[in-house]
C-alpha cells in the first residue's frame, strides 16, 4: 500500500496522463464488486499491446490497488484472476514497468496467490511471475527468500502444461549460482522436470531443457545425477542426443548441445564419448555456420569453445569439421558493407551483435589453438587474423578485448608464431597498451601473454624491454591477485634469463630487495617458484653473480637459509639449491657459502637426501665450490647457468676450499655417491671427485 500513497506525489507526470487512464483506475475503487470486475476486464483490454497505457496506469497507482484486490480474500476468484492477468500484461511492457511492479512487492503477493487451489488463478499468477522474473531488472534472489516457495512450485508442476511452462521458465532464469542449483536439486528438480522433456508441448520441452542446462553448468553433483536419469526408459543423454537431430528446431538442438557440454565439462560424460565427439561437437559447429542467426552463432561458438577447452582431441576434430576455422572468419564481417546500405534495420541488428560475434570468435579461436601447433598455424594463416586480434585488443568493448587477448595468449604458446606473425604484427604494442589500467581479468591474460613474448627466442623481447615494461611488471607483483603476482614475477624471470647486466640491475632496482624477499615468503607456491627462478636467472654468469651477491649477498643467503629450513615442496628446495649452486659459481660469491658452516652442513645433508633431485642439486653446488678454475670446464647440467668461462683463475683458493670440504666429510659423501644407482648423480659425483685428483 505504500506505493499507492506515493502515487499522488507524482503530480508532474500526472498532468500528462489522459483522463481515460484515470477513469480505469477510478473504477477499481467502485463499491460494487461487479463494477470493479468489469473495470478490471476493461482495463485488461485497454492495456494489451499499449505500452503508453501501461505506463499511465502504473503512474496512476493501479498496481497497488490491483494487488490489493488480488490478495483480498473477499474478492471473487474471477476478479482475483483478472487482476493477475492485468498485472501480467503490465509486466510485459518496459523494464521500468517491471521495476515499478517489483517495488510494489508484486512478487510475494503473487507467490502467496499460488497457494490458492484454483488452477486458472494459479496460471495467471505464474504467468505474471514468469514475466517479472525473466526480466534482467528483477533480483533473482526474490525467488529464494521464502524457503517454502521452491517446493510449492515443484508441486505445481503437475497441474497443467501452462504451470509447467511458466515454472520451468522461472527456474531456468533464476538459477544463477551454485547455491541456487543446489536448492533446486535438493527439491527434486531433476525428477520433477525430466518427464517434461517428453511433453507434447514444444514450449514445455524447451523450458525443461533450458532448466537442465542451467542446473548442470559447472555442477558435478547435478551432472553426475543427470547421466543416470531415465526418461520413458531412455537415458537422459540419449534424449538430449535425439533433440540434437538436424530436423529439430535450432533452439532445441543448441540447448540440448549445451546440456551435454555442461555435463561433459562437469566430468559426468567423458570427452571421448560418442555423444560428445559424434553428436554434440558437430551440432555446435553447425550452429556457427552462416545459415544460423547471429545470436545462435554467438551461443554456438561460446559453447563449443567451452566444450573443447581442456581436450586437445576435441580441438583437433573441431579444427577439421566443416571448415570451422575459416567459418569463424566470417564473424568479423559485421556489420557488413552490404548491410549498411541495404537497410537500417539490418544494420542496427548487425551492429548490436557485432561485438558479441567478435568476442565469441576470439574465444573459439583461443580454445581451438590452446594445445595444437598445427591448429595455431591454421588460425594465424586465416585471412587477416593477426590484424583482427591487434584491433580487437584495443576495441572499446571489454568483452572483445578480453577475448582477443585470450586468443593471443593461446597463439603465443607457439614458438613459431612468436618468432613470426607476432613479431611481424608488433602485437606487443597494443598488448602493452592493454596492460595499462585494465581490469584484472584482462590483466591476467595480457600479462600471461607478455610472459610468452618475453621468452628469450621471442624477437618482441627487445622492443618490449625498451618500452619500460619492468616497472609495470614489478607493480603486478604487488597485486592482491595471486594470478597477477605469478604473471608479473614470471615475466620478470623470463626477462632476466640470459639478460644483460643492465637489465638485471634494472630489475633488481625496480623490484627492490624488500619486495623480492616478500615474494620469497608468498603464500602462493607458484609465486615462490617463479621468484626463485628469477633469482636463479639473475645469478647467472660469474660477473653478475659476484656483483649481485656483493650488494645483496647477506639478504639472499638469509632467504636461502629460510627456505631450506622451511616447510616447502621438493621443487622449491631444488630450485633453492640450484641458486646456491649458482652462487657457488661466483668468484667472490662462493666465499659467502664457504664461510657459512651452517650452510655447508645443510648442503651436506641434502647430498644424502632421499630425493635424487635434491642430491643432484646439492652435489652440483659442492662441485662448483671445489672447482679448479684453470680447468675452465663448465658444468652444463643447468641451462640457467651462465656460459662465461672467463675469469681470473685463483688456484690457491680452490685448494683451500677443497681441503676445508674434505675436512667436513664431503669427500666421503662424494665417494659414496659415485656408487649411486642414479647415473646422473653418479656422473656428477665422479666429476667432482676428479677436481680433487687434478
Amino acid at each position: 500500500m505504500a506505493c499507492m500513497l506515493e502515487a499522488p506525489l507524482r503530480i508532474s507526470v500526472l498532468s500528462e496522463v489522459t483522463a481515460t487512464s484515470r477513469h480505469y483506475v477510478d473504477r477499481l475503487f467502485d463499491p460494487d464488486p461487479q463494477k470493479v470486475l468489469q473495470g478490471v476486464i476493461d482495463m485488461k483490454n485497454a492495456v494489451i499491446g499499449n505500452n503508453k497505457q501501461k505506463a499511465n496506469l502504473i503512474v496512476l497507482g493501479a498496481v497497488p490497488r490491483l494487488l490489493y484486490l488480488l490478495q483480498q480474500p473477499t474478492s471473487s476468484l474471477e476478479l482475483r484472476t483478472e487482476c493477475a492477468v492485468v498485472l501480467g500484461s503490465l509486466a510485459m511492457g518496459t523494464e521500468n514497468n517491471i521495476k515499478s511492479l517489483v517495488d510494489c512487492h508484486i512478487i510475494p503477493a503473487l507467490l502467496q496467490g499460488l497457494l490458492c487451489q484454483d488452477l486458472k488463478f494459479i496460471e495467471a499468477c505464474l504467468r505474471c511471475l514468469r514475466t517479472v522474473f525473466i526480466s534482467p531488472v528483477t533480483p533473482v534472489q526474490l525467488l529464494f527468500t521464502d524457503p517454502t516457495v521452491i517446493p510449492h512450485l515443484m508441486s505445481l508442476l503437475s497441474r497443467s502444461q501452462r504451470t509447467q511452462e511458466y515454472i520451468t521458465q522461472i527456474f531456468s532464469h533464476c538459477c544463477k549460482t551454485p547455491e541456487h542449483q543446489m536448492i533446486l536439486y535438493n527439491h527434486g528438480a531433476i525428477q520433477n522436470i525430466a518427464p517434461l522433456l517428453m511433453s507434447p508441448s514444444y514450449k514445455v520441452q524447451m523450458q525443461a531443457l533450458k532448466c537442465f542446462s542451467v542446473l548442470a553448468y559447472e555442477n558435478t553433483q547435478v551432472s553426475m545425477t543427470l547421466v543416470n536419469v531415465l526418461v520413458d526408459g531412455e537415458l537422459l543423454t540419449q534424449v538430449f542426443v535425439k533433440m540434437m537431430q538436424r530436423d529439430r528446431p535450432i533452439e532445441m538442438q543448441l540447448t540440448a548441445a549445451k546440456c551435454l557440454t555442461y555435463m561433459c565439462r562437469a566430468g559426468a560424460i567423458r570427452t571421448d564419448d560418442t555423444c560428445i565427439i559424434m553428436k554434440t561437437l558437430p551440432c555446435l559447429v553447425r550452429m556457427c555456420s552462416k545459415e544460423r542467426l547471429l545470436e545462435e552463432r554467438v551461443e554456438g561458438a561460446e559453447t563449443l569453445a567451452y566444450l573443447m577447452e581442456p581436450d586437445v582431441e576435441l580441438q583437433r576434430i573441431a579444427s577439421i569439421t566443416d571448415h570451422l576455422v575459416a567459418m569463424l572468419a566470417d564473424y568479423f564481417k559485421y556489420p557488413s558493407s552490404v548491410s549498411a546500405i541495404a537497410d537500417i534495420k539490418r544494420l542496427d541488428h548487425d551492429l548490436k551483435h557485432a561485438h558479441e560475434l567478435r568476442q565469441a570468435a576470439f574465444k573459439l579461436y583461443a580454445s581451438l589453438g590452446a594445445n595444437d601447433e598445427d591448429i595455431r598455424k591454421k588460425i594465424t594463416e586465416t585471412e587477416n587474423m593477426m590484424d583482427r586480434i591487434v584491433s580487437g585488443l584495443s576495441e572499446s568493448s571489454i568483452k572483445v578485448r578480453l577475448a582477443a587477448v585470450r586468443c593471443l595468449h593461446s597463439l603465443s604458446r607457439s614458438v613459431q608464431q612468436l618468432r613470426t606473425s607476432f613479431h611481424d604484427h608488433a602485437v606487443w604494442k597494443p598488448l602493452m597498451k592493454l596492460l595499462q589500467n585494465a581490469p584484472d581479468e584482462v590483466l591476467v591474460m595480457a600479462s600471461s601473454t607478455l610472459c610468452n613474448l618475453l621468452l628469450e627466442f621471442s624477437p618482441s623481447k627487445e622492443p618490449i624491454l625498451e618500452s619500460g615494461v619492468v616497472e609495470l611488471l614489478c607493480s603486478l607483483t604487488q597485486s592482491d591477485s595471486p594470478a597477477l603476482r605469478v604473471n608479473g614475477i614470471w615475466a620478470l624471470m623470463n626477462m632476466a634469463f640470459q639478460a644483460d647486466q643492465k637489465v638485471k640491475v634494472e630489475i633488481v632496482r625496480a623490484l627492490g630487495t624488500e619486495q623480492l624477499f616478500r615474494l620469497l615468503s608468498d603464500p602462493d607456491a607458484n609465486v615462490l617458484m617463479k621468484t626463485l627462478g628469477l633469482l636463479r636467472n639473475l645469478l647467472s654468469t660469474r660477473p653478475h653473480i659476484d656483483q649481485i651477491m656483493s650488494s645483496h649477498g647477506k639478504q639472499i643467503m638469509q632467504a636461502v637459509t629460510l627456505i631450506l629450513e622451511g616447510e616447502h615442496g621438493i621443487e622449491v628446495k631444488e630450485q633453492t639449491l640450484c641458486i646456491l649452486g649458482n652462487i657457488a659459481d661466483g668468484h667472490t660469491a662462493k666465499e659467502l657459502i664457504m664461510t657459512n658452516d651452517d650452510m655447508l652442513q645443510k648442503i651436506k645433508s641434502y647430498m644424502g637426501h632421499s630425493n635424487v633431485k635434491l642430491q643432484l642439486a646439492a652435489t652440483f653446488c659442492v662441485s662448483n665450490l671445489i672447482w679448479n678454475e684453470e680447468d675452465g670446464e663448465e658444468d652444463a647440467a643447468t641451462a640457467h647457468k651462465g656460459d662465461d668461462t672467463g675469469g681470473n683463475p685463483v688456484a690457491r683458493g680452490s685448494q683451500e676450499r677443497q681441503d676445508k670440504l674434505r675436512e667436513m666429510g664431503f669427500v666421503d659423501i662424494l665417494h659414496k655417491l659415485t656408487q649411486a644407482s642414479d647415473p646422473n648423480l653418479c656422473d656428477r659425483a665422479k666429476t667432482a671427485m676428479q677436481q680433487y685428483l687434478a
Binding site: Q245, R246, D247, M278, P282, T321, D322, H323
Partner: protein
C-alpha cells in the same frame, strides 16, 4: 461368335504361360535383392551361391530402399559396386567388386588409375552418400576419392579432368576438374574412412573423415556423376561401402535436415496459395468444393460452399442424378445404370459409342459376377457384403479408398493405381498403362468347360429373361442370399437336373475354403441371358469397328471380359481381377466425367488433377535431375 471366345481366351492364357521363364539366376537375384533391377553384377554374385553374401545383398537392398525411397531402380539403378568394365587396367577388383587395389608400376602420375561405380547417382536420391575405407595407403598414399562423369579418362585420379572431382589423401587437397588442388581438409591414410556426400538439391558435395563432416568441397556439380576412386602407387587398397554396411557418418541425420527444409518450402508456398483469391480453379477452397461436387457429395458440398462463400457450379438436382448413377455402377447394377443414364442424359451415350461399349462390357462382367440387375432377378445369389452399397447418399469410403490406392501403387491387391477421373488425364503417353500384376498367376490349370457343356447350357435356356423387371430387387436379395440356385421363390425355371449334377462337379473342384461363387449367381436362366448378352456385345463390337475403325482398347476389353468364361472359377482365374468390385470405380468415374463434360464441367476434379500433376511432376523432376523430389513424396500430404 461367342462360341469361339473361350478358345481364344484359352489361347490367351496359354500364351501368358508360355512366356519364357526368367533365367533362374536372374530370378534368384531378384528375389534376394528384392529389386527388379536385374543388375548385371548381382547375377554374378548369386552364381557364387554364398549365403552370407546373399544376406549382405538383402541388407544392402533394405538400406538403399530406406535411404533413397524416391529412387525407382527400374529406371535409375543405384551404384552397388565398382564396375569391372569401367576401370583402368592398373586397377584390380576383388571382394564382389567392392575392394580396389592398385596393380600398376606407380612410377609417375601417368600411372594413375581410376574405377567408376556401376551406375551414376540418381537425382531422386536427393542426398547420396558412400564411404571408402583406406585398407592400405601403399607406397605413397596417393589415393583420390570422388566423382566423375561417364567417359572421363580412367588413367587419371579423380579431380584432374573436366567433370571429375576428387579429394586426395596425400595432401588433403580437393581437385575440382583441375590438375592443381585447393587446400580442403586433413590428409588421410591407412585405417581412415572417407565419405563422399552428393547433395543433388543444391548440387554440392562434401566429404567426411571418420564420421566428421569436412565441409563443402564442390559446388555446381553436373548431373549423372559416378562414385569414383583413383590410386597411384603400389600397395594402395581401398574398400567401398555403398550401403553394404552402416555408415560411420550419420548421413540419415543430414537427410532429415534436408527433408525438413524441402517440406518447409512446400508448406510456405502452400500458405501463399491460401491467401490468394478464389478465382483460380486451383485455389484450395475451390479445389475442395469442386471435388465434392464432382463426386456428388451434395450435402457436404453445399455446407462447404456456404462456409467459404462460394457458388456451387452445378445444380443440386444434377449432382443427385449423377450420384444415383454412380451408386448403381458401384453396386454392380450396370443395366440399370445404363438405363438411368439414357433417361437422364438422352444423347450422352449415343454420342459416345465407345463409352456405351465400355459400360456394356462392364455389364457383361457384372452378369458373370451375378450382380447385374438383369441376372440378379433371375435367381443369382447376391453376396451382400460385396455389393450392397448402403442407401446412404454418401458413398465416400469408395473414393477415399481410391486415393489410398493411388498413394501406394504397389498394393498387393493389384488394383490399378487410380483416382476417379484422373486415369484418363495421365494416360496420354506419360504414364503408360500398368501391366496387370502377375500376382494372379493361375495356381492350377484352368479346366475349361467343354463346348458340349456350354451347348447344353444354351439348349436348356428357359423362358425367363424378360420376366425380370427392375422392381424390388432389394427385397429379393434376401431370398437369394443363400446362393443356392434351386430354390427360386419367383418360380423361375432353374435348369435341368443335368445342371445340378454339373454344379456338384464344380463344387468338387472348388477350394472348400473359398466362398461359394457361381457363374451368374448360379442361375441357369441368368447364364442364358449372359450368353445372349455376350453375343449382342460381340456384334456391337463388330459394328463399332466398322463405324469407328479399329480400337485396341475395346478389343482387349472384350477379350478380357470373355476370357472369364474360360474358367470354371472365373474369380480365381488370371482375368478374375475384372470381377473385383474395385474395377467398377474407373467405369464409374469415366461415366461421371462424361456426364460432367456435357455440362461443360471439368471431367475430373481439379483436386485429382493437382494430385496427378504433383506425382507426375515428381517423376519428371527425378528424370530431369532435380534432387528435391526425393523429399516431396505426394503420399506425405495425402494422409
Amino acid at each position: 461368335s461367342l462360341l469361339s471366345a473361350p478358345i481364344r481366351a484359352a489361347h490367351h492364357v496359354l500364351t501368358t504361360n508360355k512366356r519364357p521363364p526368367p533365367a533362374p539366376a536372374a530370378k534368384a537375384s531378384t528375389a534376394m535383392s528384392g529389386q527388379s533391377s536385374g543388375c548385371g553384377f548381382l547375377t554374378s554374385v548369386v552364381v557364387h551361391g554364398d549365403s552370407a553374401l546373399s544376406e549382405q545383398e538383402k541388407e544392402l537392398g533394405r538400406r538403399l530402399r530406406r535411404l533413397y525411397p524416391a529412387v525407382d531402380e527400374r529406371e535409375t539403378p543405384l551404384p552397388r559396386s565398382w564396375s569391372p568394365k569401367d576401370k583402368f587396367s592398373y586397377i584390380g577388383l576383388s571382394q564382389n567388386n567392392l575392394r580396389v587395389h592398385y596393380k600398376g608400376h606407380g612410377k609417375t602420375p601417368k600411372d594413375a588409375a581410376s574405377v567408376r561405380a556401376t551406375h551414376p547417382i540418381p537425382a531422386a536420391c536427393g542426398v547420396y552418400y558412400f564411404e571408402v575405407k583406406i585398407v592400405s595407403k601403399g607406397r605413397d598414399g596417393y589415393m583420390g576419392i570422388g566423382l566423375s562423369a561417364q567417359g572421363v579418362n580412367m588413367n587419371r585420379l579423380p579431380g584432374w579432368d573436366k567433370h571429375s572431382y576428387g579429394y586426395h589423401g596425400d595432401d588433403g587437397h580437393s581437385f575440382c576438374s583441375s590438375g592443381t588442388g585447393q587446400p580442403y581438409g586433413p590428409t588421410f591414410t591407412t585405417g581412415d574412412v572417407i565419405g563422399c556426400c552428393v547433395n543433388l538439391i543444391n548440387n554440392t558435395c562434401f566429404y567426411t573423415k571418420n564420421g566428421h563432416s569436412l565441409g563443402i568441397a564442390f559446388t555446381d556439380l553436373p548431373p549423372n556423376l559416378y562414385p569414383t576412386v583413383g590410386l597411384q602407387t603400389p600397395g594402395e587398397v581401398v574398400d567401398a561401402n555403398f550401403g553394404q554396411h552402416p555408415f560411420v557418418f550419420d548421413i540419415e541425420d543430414y537427410m532429415r535436415e534436408w527433408r525438413t527444409k524441402i517440406q518447409a518450402q512446400i508448406i510456405s508456398r502452400g500458405q501463399g496459395l491460401k491467401v490468394g483469391n478464389n478465382s483460380s480453379p486451383f485455389s484450395p477452397d475451390r479445389m475442395v468444393a469442386s471435388y465434392l461436387v464432382h463426386h456428388g457429395y451434395c450435402a457436404t458440398a453445399e455446407a462447404f460452399a456456404r462456409s467459404t462463400d462460394q457458388a456451387v457450379h452445378e445444380e443440386l438436382a444434377s449432382i443427385k442424378n449423377r450420384q444415383k448413377i454412380q451408386k448403381l455402377v458401384l453396386s454392380g447394377r450396370m443395366g440399370e445404370a445404363i438405363e438411368t443414364t439414357q433417361q437422364l442424359y438422352p444423347t450422352l451415350l449415343e454420342r459416345n459409342p465407345n463409352l456405351l461399349f465400355m459400360l456394356k462390357v462392364r455389364q457383361f462382367i457384372e452378369m458373370v459376377n451375378g450382380t447385374d440387375s438383369e441376372v440378379r432377378c433371375l435367381g443369382g445369389r447376391s453376396p451382400k457384403s460385396q455389393d450392397s452399397y448402403p442407401g446412404s447418399p454418401n458413398p465416400s469410403p469408395s473414393h477415399s479408398a481410391s486415393i489410398h490406392s493411388l498413394a501406394s501403387p504397389a498394393k498387393p491387391s493389384g488394383s490399378h493405381s487410380y483416382l476417379p477421373g484422373f486415369d484418363s488425364s495421365c494416360s496420354n503417353g506419360v504414364a503408360p498403362g500398368r501391366p496387370h500384376p502377375s500376382a494372379h498367376c493361375p495356381k492350377q490349370l484352368p479346366s475349361t468347360p467343354s463346348n458340349a457343356e456350354l451347348n447344353t447350357i444354351n439348349s436348356v435356356r428357359s423362358q425367363q429373361a424378360n420376366a425380370c423387371t427392375s422392381g424390388d430387387i432389394d427385397m429379393e436379395v434376401d431370398h437369394y442370399s443363400n446362393g443356392v440356385s434351386g430354390s427360386s421363390s419367383n418360380g423361375f425355371l432353374n435348369g435341368s437336373s443335368k445342371h445340378d449334377i454339373e454344379l456338384e462337379d464344380c463344387d468338387a473342384d472348388m477350394d472348400p475354403a473359398l466362398p461359394r461363387r457361381q457363374l451368374c449367381g448360379g442361375s441357369q436362366a441368368a447364364i442364358e441371358r449372359m450368353i445372349h448378352f455376350g453375343r449382342e456385345l460381340q456384334s456391337m463390337s463388330e459394328h463399332l469397328r466398322r463405324e469407328c475403325g479399329k480400337n485396341a482398347a475395346n478389343k482387349k476389353m472384350l477379350k478380357d471380359a470373355f476370357s472369364l468364361l474360360a474358367y470354371s472359377d472365373p474369380w480365381s482365374s488370371p482375368v478374375g481381377y475384372q470381377l473385383d468390385s474395385i474395377q467398377r470405380e474407373p467405369v464409374c468415374s469415366t461415366l461421371n466425367s462424361a456426364i460432367l463434360e456435357t455440362h461443360n464441367l471439368p471431367k475430373q476434379p481439379p483436386l485429382a488433377l493437382a494430385v496427378g500433376q504433383a506425382s507426375q511432376c515428381l517423376s519428371v523432376m527425378a528424370r530431369s535431375g532435380i534432387g528435391s523430389c526425393a523429399f516431396a513424396s505426394v503420399d506425405d500430404y495425402l494422409h
